[in-house]
Symmetry: C2
Subunit: 175 residues, 2 copies
Amino acid sequence: MSEKNEILENIKTRRSVRKFKPDMVPGDILDQIIEAGTCAPTGMNRQSPIILAITDKAVRDQLSALNAKIMGAGTDPFYGAPVVLVVLADKACPTHVYDGSLVMENLMLAAHALGIGSCWIHRAKEEFEMPEGKELLKSLGIEGEYEGVGHCILGYPDGAYPKAHDKKDTWVYRI
Amino acid sequence: MSEKNEILENIKTRRSVRKFKPDMVPGDILDQIIEAGTCAPTGMNRQSPIILAITDKAVRDQLSALNAKIMGAGTDPFYGAPVVLVVLADKACPTHVYDGSLVMENLMLAAHALGIGSCWIHRAKEEFEMPEGKELLKSLGIEGEYEGVGHCILGYPDGAYPKAHDKKDTWVYRI
């Protein structure tokens, strides 16, 4: 199989993982995943997104509780994943939601390429509209108005790797 | 270099291409790019996006003119690319913009993996809010309210491959 096919295979075999072992992702692997995120294209190269790379358990748990509160649930929305990469993007940039989303896909694909499971977890927007979210950004010295785009949770999958979903019939229209 | 590194290399070396040869992208390559797009994750697996794969020159030129009109320019916003993949997503799905954006990144990465240049071109939202855009969807039998997310233009790069942009200093915050 050529190197080109490996890239397509990686895209095709990535799955959303929702059960993780507690083991931490090694720092050098995490760095490679984060770097891939920063390689996403952005509108007019404004580079509107930022990535909060959370490995501290207390902060991770605090964010999990906040996310659960928004969802109205008492469970861990991060499914036990030890790492949470939060992508936010500068609202001053009109393409910020698109930009941040592209970062998210790069993070998920790079994780899969390195044997790490991932899943997009939503409610980042609501999270960083709340005082607790704003306080976290402030404590990091982040100024300006940033919108939460998504959480990319990371860790080693626990149990069987998820199977592919069936695809809808109406994906593509050829003209 | 391991196969894993090839995947990261593909992410790192993708560039936005803005000058294309007129040569058509072969059908089998185009099919592989489109398939990669349909492998993106979507919120709750609702599969809200669709892809219009435009290779017909008349339709491509019509869309280019519409896009130029929105931009207030007289140039070709698709930079001479012979193929335009338009990603739209169902507004009824709350994650539709995120979903469509992930499809776009898969398309761009798969294109690069297969030696095809790409670029995200905006104003798809405005395009499909116009009567001409709505008429195109209607002519394809597409029902419901679809929002334009982006155009992924495709073709063989003409001239030197673009260099990487410098990255801003404030991409990542480690916690």
